[in-house]
Amino acid sequence: MADDNIGGAENTDDLILRTMMEQAERLCTSGDALLRGQYWHLRGRIQALLDLRCTGDMNSTPER
């Protein structure tokens, strides 16, 4: 799955990260004040991974 990221596998990793990003955004709306900062941290990590993996089309990275 998270193998060499060329061609199809590339899209697989991005797809997983995008899905995780959507879910992390939902977690960030948590009413738990102890967990909220941790969810922000998780979202930031996923966002950075999407950013740093981009080698071309910036449309593939999320809006902030």
């Binding site: 941290h41 930031g44 950013d51 740093l52 089309d57 902030r64």
Partner: protein
């Protein structure tokens, strides 16, 4: 396995044509400028005044020609007017997850940077990436000799970098003496990677020699020594590789770059034919311009100039066309000696423009004297002082300590070395300087960046 095969992601960056790389830069730059125009009153004001709003910046060339540069003084003024982060923060303050400050060694004040969680990861990535290129792999054991924690990027970036690289790291910098570090290194045994400032690697090598420890046999699993922060002579790099029996690699980075902006490739800091290596720039994360500091025109390949940095991914307190005050020799991607389309800098010669001392009409950088002194492998350390003599003349005094390996030298041989060092300094600076031998214990040890020079000339004019 080479890094391009071990990471197809790195392989893809390496395979980008210059056109593809610049298209990626342009895409990221547009995103950054649009965001900053909306979220940063500091940058919005600068764009409006210069007529360089995102809609008018239509290309990388237009950006370089029209977007105003910022200096340390601009950032300090912004911070003073809008404490603590200034209006360049550009993210909500509650999203600041890490605060970094510059070291304050310039005497002008400390810049402050507020980084988001995203930025913390990018900062780690910009440490992990050069180290990966230098041979660090998941599961490796690493020793970090740079003082950890505190308020500097150099304190937090390496820890994050080693963590996300998947390494098992010992952060011994700042908290253990050099002897205690050596004891720890021996206990660890199978170490694969050491990160240290140039100066501290010198100190560590000297201390191992003093204890009669041969690094080649004591640490046979060591693959990479990675240095940063200071210039050095080619002879020193060759000697270090010989002592340790592994490759010496280097990175150039700063707080403004949020980590390393570039690093050496497989050839390391010195090529097999004794030429300086190259620091290949990660231009898709930081755009680096190398310009004439007076005209701000780009220098040609092979020329020295001031670096101007633009962060392309950083969210919190990003720098856009920031004048670093660091001077480097620019090497165009066409001359970088490899297939990658990345521009480069010459290894081992990056220096601070504001370190320059004007001595008897000559522009002298401490790095030039470091190069002259440490080209002699029996020298352990030195300290320099420029002062005004009784007759009002500028005088220069260098106190120099020999290394343990010089203990067998006779008095005459030591005098000959001093004369040779003095002559080397004259060759590189055009100034004769007085040298005196002192015991090693008379000179300080530096755990990070060395500060070897004191300019006391103003004191000589006090009434």
């Amino acid at each position: 396995m080479n890094p391009y095969d071990a990471s197809p992601l790195v392989g893809r960056f390496a395979a980008l044509s210059r056109g593809e790389l610049e298209a990626l830069q342009w895409s990221r730059l547009q995103r950054q400028l649009t965001r900053l125009y909306a979220d940063s009153p500091y940058y919005r004001a600068r764009m409006d005044i210069a007529g360089a709003t995102p809609d008018k910046i239509t290309s990388l060339e237009r950006f370089r020609a029209a977007f105003p540069t910022s200096s340390k003084a601009d950032f300090l003024a912004d911070q003073t007017a809008h404490p603590p982060f200034g209006h360049r923060l550009s993210i909500p303050q509650d999203q600041v997850a890490l605060v970094s400050m510059t070291g304050g060694t310039s005497g002008q004040g400390q810049e402050i940077y507020g980084r988001s969680n995203h930025d913390i990861h990018i900062q780690g990535y910009l440490h992990a990436l050069p180290w990966f290129l230098a041979g660090l792999r998941p599961g490796d054991v690493a020793l970090n000799c740079v003082p950890a924690g505190g308020l500097t990027t150099g304190g937090w970036g390496p820890g994050e970098g080693l963590r996300i690289a998947g390494a098992t790291a010992f952060h011994a910098g700042g908290s253990l003496s050099t002897d205690a570090k050596i004891d720890l290194m021996i206990r660890i045994g199978g170490m694969n990677f050491i990160y240290a400032s140039t100066n501290y690697l010198h100190t560590l090598s000297e201390a191992l020699n003093k204890r009669g420890i041969d690094p080649k046999t004591a640490f046979p699993g060591l693959r990479t020594l990675f240095i940063a922060a200071e210039a050095y002579p080619v002879e020193w790099a060759q000697k270090i590789e010989n002592i340790w029996g592994c490759k010496l690699q280097e990175g150039y980075g700063s707080t403004q770059c949020a980590g390393f902006a570039g690093s050496t490739c497989e050839e390391g800091t010195v090529t097999v034919d004794g030429q300086r290596g190259k620091l290949h720039l990660f231009e898709w994360e930081n755009m680096i311009e190398v310009v004439n500091p007076e005209t701000l025109e780009p220098v040609s390949s092979g020329e020295m100039g001031e670096m101007i940095v633009t962060n392309l991914s950083i969210q919190g307190s990003p720098v856009v066309r920031f004048r670093t005050g660091d001077a480097a020799q620019f090497i165009s991607y066409e001359d970088n000696g490899c297939d990658r389309a990345w521009n480069a800098l010459e290894c081992g010669t990056i220096k601070r423009l504001d370190d320059m001392m004007k001595i008897r009409g000559n522009n002298i950088w401490p790095s030039a004297i470091d190069a002259a002194v440490f080209a002699h492998d029996v020298v352990a350390e030195y300290a320099g002082r420029v002062f005004t003599g009784r007759d009002g003349k500028t005088e220069i005094e260098i106190r120099l300590a020999f290394s343990e390996s010089a203990s067998q030298l006779s008095m005459d041989e030591r005098k000959n070395v001093l004369a040779a060092v003095r002559s080397s300094i004259k060759d590189r600076t055009n100034v004769w300087m007085d040298l005196a031998e002192v015991p090693r214990s008379d000179l300080p040890e530096f755990s990070y960046k060395a500060k070897r020079w004191k300019d006391e000339r103003q004191d000589g004019y006090k009434l």
